[in-house]
């Protein structure tokens, strides 16, 4: 048995594919690759496949992580071409590695996540900067999600505006992604009084504990 870690980009064709369906997309990719994916024991065996951190619907990513367990020890030289041949539109492999079977589960290793939101609505750089400053100066940002109130402020670790090409302007944010304390980029945009649905959001980095 070995544990394969796949670093990949989730691109436009899978932009509107949620977390559960991403799981299915990986499962089918591995089935097409004919690699010996390991299944859980029991009455309803499930493929052993663990994603690092769910991506909100509509967000693409330059770096995602998933761990897959294989029943046999196979070298990366063999895995790589088999996997690449089987990829669906929307997944691009960045790096493959083998990792310790005993290593902690991926989701527990993630501590933060970087996002870049390119704004489709027009706003001046100055106005955006003001809003960002005001948000950062707040000690609390009470927000409601699914009927529960929470404080967004401690989840925002970094926030800044960045000029983009074609005259667009973007918001960069580093948000906490610890279990039970995960910041959502669209919530931050809303707190900045921006329309989260008029933004092209991508995850640019996943921060793991030991990094």
């Amino acid at each position: 048995m070995e544990r394969l870690r796949i670093q990949y980009a989730k691109t436009e064709p899978l932009r509107y594919t949620g977390n559960l369906d991403m799981q299915k997309a990986w499962e089918r990719t591995l089935r097409r690759s004919h690699l010996p994916m390991a299944y859980s024991q029991g009455f309803h065996p499930q493929p052993r496949l663990v994603q690092a951190c769910p991506l909100p619907l509509g967000v693409i990513s330059v770096t995602e992580l998933v761990d897959v367990w294989l029943d046999e020890d196979i070298s990366l030289d063999i895995i790589e071409p088999a996997l690449i041949k089987a990829l669906p539109p929307g997944i691009e492999i960045i790096q493959l590695s083998l990792t310790g079977l005993q290593e902690a589960a991926l989701p527990t290793q993630v501590i933060a996540s970087d996002y870049l939101a390119i704004l489709l609505e027009s706003i001046s750089a100055c106005e955006l900067e003001n809003r960002i400053q005001r948000l950062l100066e707040m000690s609390q940002i009470p927000r409601e999600r699914h009927g529960k109130t929470y404080d967004l402020r401690p989840l925002v670790e970094q926030l800044m505006s960045i000029p983009e090409k074609d005259g667009y302007i973007a918001v960069f944010m580093r948000l906490s992604a610890r279990e039970g304390a995960t910041g959502r980029p669209e919530e931050v945009l809303a707190a900045l009084n921006l329309d989260p649905m008029a933004a092209r959001i991508q995850r640019t980095s996943l921060i793991l504990k030991n990094n």
Binding site: L20, L30, R32, H44, G58, P88, M197
Partner: protein, 638 residues
């Protein structure tokens, strides 16, 4: 002004996150075919007029998508009905209906093909034409507009939709679609008029161009007949079939969101020899043609390699009747079991043989075991020609429960001709007997799910003459079952009687029904197949505005010599045979499986030339010895 694909993409990005399940509206699935727009001569839009979630796996469109895109001179792209939230957003943002592949507006295509497997998609079809900014009525479209064609089982009575569709395909689409494309390309090269195009399409075997015919009615609304408006228009319009089934599709689209029937489907045979008298599919898909075991197994392997799906459905109208089933199932089981693949085999006969078959396919993902006795008394079974003894059913369920299945699903139908409350009580009694058997074998773990639909008389079946049950009768029968089918382990499902009513109006409708459909759509009817979206009052108002009596279509017992609105469409099975079958039904006489002995339904003489072209075992009509005493009548086949 039609929006460019670039403009559509730009506008889409601003609305997609505001709707439920935006993954429905973007395409990009594995095995999607994308060709540069200008690299082909003919652009075809294929539409399933309901949600993506339901349409993606439609096998008919899967076949057409693959075969059309295999042509270098053609591209075929898909569209489905947007859900209400998305439609509202699209209309607000003035986004026309577009294809998922290239995001081109449907109005930019040369040809649009609608899949119409059932009648409750009619209003959606109108709605999509409107959303595509294409005139809804055929006679308002010009050479500038796409040609609108439709096919599927509902089209065997094309009349209700004939004002909206330029040409219908009657029968199987695999070959005729290419004939249609060829004719279209020749017409386009010649730069000729739209009527010329329709004329040339009408000359293709299996194509019905409704504008070349005009129906006449008696003062009481019954048909006198249908007149040809063009000498060379065919009469009758004979359904198109293939002598041999082509290789099945293997490049299934793999959706990026969860959809219904998210799996590989392989048709193991087409047609059915059982002759159940209520069954539309069983009559119109004759003759039976089988695929070889090797072809099926190879197709499964190839499809698994192409898709990575974890579920396979082996499709047919009656799996137990596939002649090589004893070879196929062990082979499928040997090749694919242990690969975490689940295999379903629907439409099994009610006998222990079926349990043996299912046992071989059994795997850890199994659901319930489904059987469709349809009726519970011997009298009723003889009327519908589905003879299964109660004893045999009980033996079968005992075998099923004792081999580790905990849930059995039984399907029945109420409203069969001459059905009484006793026949309905018998359904309840039978179900109770089944659960008692389950208790004996596995105790309280035994479950029984009972699905009871309501019979709708369909064109081209022996029951096309009969009246439907009235609403109060249906409700009384459903009430009775609801009361009786309770208790631990028992679950009862029924069809909304209002939905049945709509299906009954439309399935035996005539050309005048087009106005009702149009009015109902204008009044807001769409997604009629969705129980929560159904607008009965819009339909009633539609009838009123069209000056038609809905009861005329549903509650009227037809005379045996009545001329029907669909009489000019020939499915091979003859009206005289259907009439004979209807009379046998009323006498309670069974008609044996026609594999054993030809029942002279009309398919063999009608397709004699095709049969000669494809001799051998694939075609399951028995050999018929030629009559010695009479000279043989030549078939009208060209």
């Amino acid at each position: 002004m039609v929006l460019s694909s670039f403009e559509i993409k730009e506008r889409l990005e601003r609305i997609l996150l505001r709707v439920q399940k935006p993954g429905r509206y973007v395409g990009g699935e594995l095995n999607q075919v994308e060709k540069p727009w200008d690299s082909v001569y003919t652009h075809i839009g294929l539409i399933f007029p309901d949600l993506y979630d339901l349409g993606l796996s439609n096998l008919g469109l899967t076949i057409l998508y693959e075969t059309l895109n295999n042509r270098a001179d053609v591209l075929a792209e898909r569209a489905y009905s947007p859900w209400l939230d998305m439609e509202e957003m699209m209309r607000q943002a003035e986004i026309p209906l577009y294809t998922l592949e290239s995001k081109h507006a449907l109005a930019d295509f040369d040809m649009i093909g609608f899949s119409l497997p059932y009648e409750t998609l009619y209003t959606n079809t109108l709605n999509l034409l409107d959303l595509a900014q294409i005139p809804i009525f055929s006679n308002q479209r010009s050479s500038q507009h796409p040609l609108i064609i439709a096919g599927g089982h509902a089209c065997y009575n094309p009349e209700p939709m004939s004002a909206f569709i330029d040409a219908f395909v009657i029968g199987e689409g695999e070959e005729v679609i290419h004939d249609i494309v060829d004719a279209y390309q020749i017409w386009k090269k010649m730069g000729s008029t739209r009527p010329e195009l329709l004329k040339s399409l009408s000359q293709i075997w299996g194509v019905y161009v409704p504008s070349l015919y005009s129906p006449r009615y008696q003062p009481d609304g019954k048909m006198i007949g249908i007149d040809k408006l063009l000498d060379q228009a065919p009469y009758p319009i004979r359904k198109r079939i293939l002598g041999k089934l082509p290789p099945p599709p293997t490049h299934f689209l793999v959706p990026t969101i969860d959809v219904v029937q998210n799996r590989i489907s392989v048709e193991i045979m087409r047609g059915c020899t059982r002759g159940c008298r209520f069954c539309h599919a069983g009559m119109i898909t004759r003759p039976v043609r089988e695929r070889s075991t090797k072809e099926i197994v190879d197709a499964i392997q190839e499809s698994l390699d192409n898709t990575g799906f974890e579920e396979i459905a082996l499709l047919s109208l009656s799996s137990s009747d596939y002649s090589q089933i004893l070879e196929l199932i062990p082979e499928v089981s040997r090749r694919f079991a242990g690969q975490h693949v689940s295999i379903s085999l629907p439409s099994l006969r009610i006998d222990s043989f079926s349990v043996d078959l299912m046992e071989q396919l059994k795997n850890n993902r199994q659901g319930g075991f489904t059987l469709a006795p349809e009726a519970a008394t011997e009298r009723m079974r003889n009327i519908i020609n589905k003879p299964i003894s109660t004893q045999q059913l009980l033996e079968t369920v005992r075998a099923i429960y004792s081999r580790d299945w905990q849930t059995i699903k039984l399907y029945f139908m109420i409203g069969h001709p001459s059905e009484t409350l006793e026949d309905v009580y018998a359904i309840a009694d039978l179900c109770k007997a089944v659960i008692v058997e389950g208790r004996k074998v596995i105790g309280k773990r035994a479950n029984l799910h009972v699905g009871v639909s309501t019979f709708v008389p369909k064109p081209h079946t022996p029951f096309q003459w009969v009246a439907c049950d009235r609403m109060d009768q249906i409700k009384a029968k459903q009430q009775l079952l609801k009361k009786e089918l309770t208790g631990p382990g028992m679950k009862y499902n029924w069809t909304d009687p209002e939905e049945t009513l709509l299906e009954a109006w439309l399935s035996r409708g005539d050309r005048r029904m087009g106005e009702v459909i149009y009015r109902a759509w204008q009044l807001g009817a769409k997604f009629d197949a969705w129980q929560d979206q159904y607008h009965l009052s819009a339909w009633q108002e539609g009838f009123r505005m069209a000056g038609l009596d809905p009861d005329f279509y549903t509650y009227r017992q037809r005379f045996l010599d009545e001329i029907f609105p669909w009489d000019h469409i020939s499915p091979g099975v003859r009206k005289s045979y259907l009439a004979k079958e209807y009379q046998r039904s009323m006498a309670g006489t069974l008609q044996p499986d026609c594999r054993e002995q030809c029942c002279a339904c009309g398919v063999l003489p009608d397709y004699a030339a095709l049969r000669r072209q494809y001799p051998g075992k694939g075609w399951k009509c028995p050999d018929v010895s030629p009559r010695r005493t009479q000279p043989r009548v030549l078939s009208p086949e060209s």
